[in-house]
């Protein structure tokens, strides 16, 4: 089996959208960012998926983790927030789709 170089889906600055995965059980992606659009800040490394670890499955693949930046105005449209305020949070690769493509558009 060939050991292909690890292909990372996103680069800093890429536009992304957080998917509605509809997953129940232990997940680490809070409701308030689901369906929102942001930009990749940086790649954090690859880590075992907490969704697997929570049910004792330690044999799963490591998942790419990214920090993603959102405009606070986009997260909380009802609040009065300066346009330059942001929120940064860690999102696992399988929760992200590219916001540059048609994938994830509603």
């Amino acid at each position: 089996m060939s050991m292909a170089a690890h292909y990372r889906r996103f680069r800093p600055g890429d536009g992304v959208k957080v998917k509605h995965l509809g997953k129940s059980g232990h997940v680490r992606i809070p409701f308030y960012v689901r369906g929102k659009r942001g930009k990749i800040v940086n790649f954090c490394g690859s880590y075992l998926n907490p969704e697997d670890l929570a049910i004792g499955n330690t044999a799963g693949p490591a998942i790419d983790l990214y920090r993603v930046k959102f405009a606070q105005r986009d997260l909380w449209p009802d609040e009065e927030i300066p346009e330059h305020d942001h929120l940064v949070i860690e999102i696992y690769d399988h929760w992200l789709s590219s916001a540059e493509s048609s994938e994830g558009r509603h």
Partner: protein
């Protein structure tokens, strides 16, 4: 039973700001954990000396370690660059062992302020700073820090200029965060001990500048 003594808002809010155990609750906690420990020891899964040693290990980190890191970054621009590049590695260089996967150090500037929270539970760089303060783990802080951080900061006496960027970091996965506060103006007149004395827990979390 837990009491509401420390809760200021008894209204129809969903979340008690912070649940505090009374004496009976704390005794109950002690009884249960002692019983659990006995059972686990009986199963050969733990020993009592191990537990005591682990408690000592939990007690040893503290704000003094965060202060050491910040003072070094203030006095050494090269170190600061390394710290911002790879926090865990740089912190290791000054003899502090980090247990978490990675430490992201976020820098305050005259134009930007950073605030740390964990909305889902209480993630915090415990291997460096020790246990987080009660307010950090309170539901009030976890719920409000992401949505109305400027109001939250005002409760801590911190008023940010409108044109300053405020970045909130929700520590939800494998990264843990430290705020690097702005260095003092008279840095050149200080030694590292004096610098360390300026670094407080609240500055490292970001509720004060």
């Amino acid at each position: 039973m837990p009491s509401s003594d420390h809760i200021e808002n008894h209204s129809h809010e969903n979340h008690e700001a912070l649940v505090v155990e009374d004496d009976a609750g704390n005794l109950e906690g002690q009884i249960i954990i002692d019983a659990l420990q006995d059972v686990l020891v009986a199963h050969g899964l733990l020993t009592a000396p191990e537990v005591l040693k682990e408690i000592e290990k939990l007690e040893s980190p503290g704000i003094h370690l965060g202060a050491k890191i910040v003072a070094r970054a203030w006095s050494d621009p090269d170190y600061k660059a390394k710290l911002l590049e790879n926090g865990k590695q740089a912190i290791g260089y000054i003899g502090i062992t980090v247990g978490e996967a990675q430490i992201i150090v976020v820098e305050n500037t005259p134009k930007k302020h950073n605030l740390i929270t964990c909305t889902l539970c209480s993630c915090y760089p415990r291997s460096i700073l020790g246990q987080p303060p009660s307010w950090y783990i309170s539901k009030a802080y976890r719920a409000r820090a992401v949505r109305e951080p400027r109001k939250v900061l005002e409760e801590f006496g911190t008023v940010l200029p409108h044109d300053m960027e405020l970045v909130v970091h929700d520590s939800n996965a494998d990264m843990r965060y430290l705020v690097l506060p702005e260095s003092p103006k008279n840095l050149a007149d200080m030694n590292e001990v004096e610098m360390e004395s300026l670094v407080t827990r609240d500055r490292l979390i970001g509720v004060t500048r």
